[in-house]
Symmetry: C2
Subunit: 134 residues, 2 copies
DNA sequence: CAAGTGTACTAGATCAACTAATACACTTAT
DNA sequence: ATAAGTGTATTAGTTGATCTAGTACACTTG
């Protein structure tokens, strides 16, 4: 009903699952205090070992995105307070990219132009995709 | 004399080494046709197994950044032709960041502002560092 | 009580990364 | 020619992360 596993993805399964749930939480697809699928049921659905799901849920809880109640289940935490941290994470990544860009002579202006326009020299992106970005 | 290994870095050693050499090549620190340290000497210097250096050099050669001559050594290739490819790589990374940003409501404008200003809310960056960026 | 929940633990399989040792063909300097 | 240094290949073993498998326990709910 939910997630599908991408086997071309080389990240560990538990990380892949955790990041997809994280995205749904941040997007608001999953509301505060909403119950996540049980460890066993999601494991069954994805044909994966329950321990792997358990690990994914553990990392989510460790990051404050969910909370667990023994005997009841795992639930979505309040995502609002986590946005500043996520924002920092993204800026940190951006720092790394800017450093790489500088090495090959890509200026800040060119990066900004790419972000603004988006279209230029990115074969994977189509007009249609562009539209769907809203 | 050259590279130092960062053990806090969780990437594989060979990748870490390769990327540092790659950066030096793209920066122009290493000129075209300049000889790299021999597999054995660099291994000795870094207290690392020669096979690990060998793997780093292999990946560099596979990416077209170096070329090897049996019995003579490994040398820096012409980096000029590789810039477009690297540029694409960076834009691809930028696409990923933009997607993450959109999820948490970070606008393109905010990303652009960060690139332009750079300073805001990045605790690791100091005025001094900013200056050294040239 | 029974079923479903999170959680913990042990055990084994698999794979990538790394170390270790050895070998071969080549080039260069002596 | 010899020796030293080079890239390259091969085999073997270690380690750690990932994943599967099975079991167990305490908890909550109907």
């Amino acid at each position: 009903m939910w997630i599908e596993i991408d086997f071309r993805d080389k990240r560990p399964l538990y990380e892949q699952i955790a990041s997809k749930i994280e995205e749904m939480i941040l997007r608001g697809v999953l509301s505060k205090d909403e119950a996540l699928p049980s460890v066993r049921s999601l494991a069954m659905e994805l044909s994966i070992n329950p321990n792997t799901i358990q690990k994914a849920y553990s990392t989510l809880e460790a990051e404050g995105l969910t909370y667990s109640v023994s005997g009841r289940g795992s639930f979505v935490a309040d995502a609002g307070g986590l946005l500043p941290k996520k924002r920092e994470e993204i800026f940190r990544e951006l720092d790394g990219i800017m450093q790489k860009a500088k090495v090959i002579g890509l200026t800040r202006l060119e990066l900004m132009a790419y972000i603004q326009g988006d279209v230029k020299s990115s074969p994977g992106r189509t007009k249609a995709k562009e539209e769907s970005d809203r």
